[in-house]
């Protein structure tokens, strides 16, 4: 599903963010990418999500070499990845349901189809009781779940979630992890970036440790 080899990434200022990354994630697997702040987790996730172009090394996602994709093909690949960026902020002046339908309708779904998919996604993450609530009024746990609902709303093959547990208390992190784990168990592949410590139960999945742009333990 994901295969990364000899991946390097340097910022415009010459700071090395990622160094010689080798990584492999099998179909249906869930793994955590764990490391301190500025370890390079977000950049790695954004590279895997085809949000930024790689500089050197090879990234194969869903069998496609990201470096060789045209803009159009990269857009096509992105549509099959449910990516939630770090510090995810929903559309504040729209309801929970409208947040999900906006994404689906912008991607070309008709109203009825978008609503059907959105309701299904919100049910999967347990946000059905709050679907009429303005996103700006959501609690952090519900906000993290909305990010997940957005990611799974269009039946992706891969979920990349950057730091879903940030700003959450222990109990909230556990709840979000449980939701994530339940959804992933239906056969999705998921790579989740997080800081240590992970919520209870998350340790049963593979943990890839990242520090100073290098994989220290996979």
């Amino acid at each position: 599903m994901i295969q990364v080899s000899e991946l390097h990434f340097t910022t415009d200022d010459g700071i090395k963010v990622l160094e010689d990354i080798h990584l492999r994630l099998e179909r249906g697997e869930m793994a955590f990418l764990v490391g301190p702040a500025a370890a390079g987790k977000s950049v790695l996730l954004r590279l895997l999500a085809a949000q930024i172009p790689p500089q050197s090394g090879q990234i194969l996602v869903l069998g496609r070499n990201i470096a060789r994709l045209s803009r159009l093909k990269a857009a096509g690949l992105k549509r099959r990845i449910g990516f939630v960026a770090q510090g995810f902020a929903p559309l504040p002046h729209r309801t929970v349901l409208q947040n999900v339908t906006f994404r689906l309708r912008a991607r070309g779904d008709f109203r009825e189809q978008a609503e059907e998919k959105a309701l299904s996604a919100l049910e999967r993450v347990g946000l059905t009781p709050q679907l009429g609530l303005l996103a700006a009024k959501l609690e952090p746990v519900a906000r993290a779940k909305l990010g997940l609902a957005l990611a799974v709303s269009d039946d992706p093959l891969l979920i990349l979630y950057d730091d879903p547990f940030a700003t959450l208390a222990e109990e909230g992190a556990r709840e979000v992890y449980a939701t994530l784990s339940r959804i992933q168990s239906s056969g999705l592949t998921a790579l989740v970036a997080a800081r240590s410590p992970l919520p209870d139960g998350a340790q049963r999945h593979r943990v890839i440790w990242l520090a100073d742009g290098k994989v220290t333990k996979a």
Partner: protein, 277 residues
């Protein structure tokens, strides 16, 4: 295309939150730009600055001697109709054009025929004067050079003003739509699907300005038919039926071009770093 039109609709709806006022001003300036453009290039040909209305190219205004009896006017009308150089003759509501006398308008079969006919008419009894604009002049009416300069300045000012307000409007609009743009980018929408609706929205704004002008000149043209003396000659010139048609035809592509400029401006703003996820 469903997604494209959805994004376009949402973008225009976001005008209610921010940028709507500036976009309205930009549309107003497009209206002004097109109005001045019409005044300058459809009416304002180089001339001596006379205030008197002139006939259109190929048409001859025949001012009859004041005090002619209706029978004499009818006789002249029939005489003109029978001239082989004349294609059509109309009786104008002459008071405003030639105080004290009636005026006939003659459409010549060609510019050369018009000149021949004018020479004939000058010596015809019962005709006070003849006014003929050559076909070369086309749709132009003479305006003074100072008015022409004023119109040129107005044209430049309205173009700059429309772009200025369009930029402010798009900045506000894209600010209100920023999170949506970021979400679309993260979701894998191509740049064409994100920037395309912004360009189309700009075109719609430009076309709205041109539609305002078309509506205004057509309404004013209808109103002018009832009160021809109520407007200055230059305005009356713009509101002449042929020119109203020309203004309408010219406004649409010009409004489209202005709108495309707005759209390009909006798209360049949407490509900025702040709107990247």
């Amino acid at each position: 295309m469903t997604g494209f039109f959805f994004v376009l609709g949402e973008l225009i709806r976001a005008l209610r939150q921010k940028g709507g006022g500036f976009i309205f001003l930009a549309i107003l300036f497009v209206f002004l730009f097109l109005a001045v453009f019409s005044g300058l290039f459809l009416v304002g040909g180089p001339g001596q600055g006379t205030d008197a209305p002139r006939p259109l190219g190929g048409k001859i205004l025949v001012h009859l001697t004041p005090g002619l009896s209706p029978q004499a006017i009818q006789a002249l009308y029939i005489q003109l109709l029978e001239e082989r150089e004349a294609e059509r003759v109309n009786v104008l509501a002459g008071d405003a054009l030639a105080p004290g006398g009636a005026t006939l308008q003659v459409q010549a079969t060609s510019p050369a025929a018009g000149r021949t006919l004018v020479e004939k008419l000058k010596t015809t009894p019962g005709i006070a004067s003849v006014d003929y604009a050559s076909a070369k002049r086309g749709l132009s009416l003479p305006v003074s050079s100072s008015l022409r300069l004023g119109l040129l300045l107005g044209l430049a000012a309205s173009a700059v003003g429309s772009l200025f307000f369009a930029r402010l409007g798009f900045r506000g609009l894209l600010g209100a739509f920023a999170e949506e743009i970021k979400l679309m980018r993260v979701s894998g929408l191509s740049e064409a699907m994100i920037l395309g609706p912004i360009v189309v929205a700009g075109v719609l704004f430009g076309l709205t300005g041109s539609l305002f002008l078309i509506a205004a000149v057509n309404l004013a043209h209808v109103g002018l038919a009832a009160h021809p003396q109520a407007v200055p000659p230059l305005v009356a010139g713009i509101l002449e039926a042929t020119r109203v048609q020309a203004v309408s035809l010219l406004s649409v592509p010009l409004g489209f071009l202005m709108g495309a400029l707005f759209g390009a401006l909006g798209a360049s703003l949407a490509g900025s770093r702040e709107l990247q996820p």
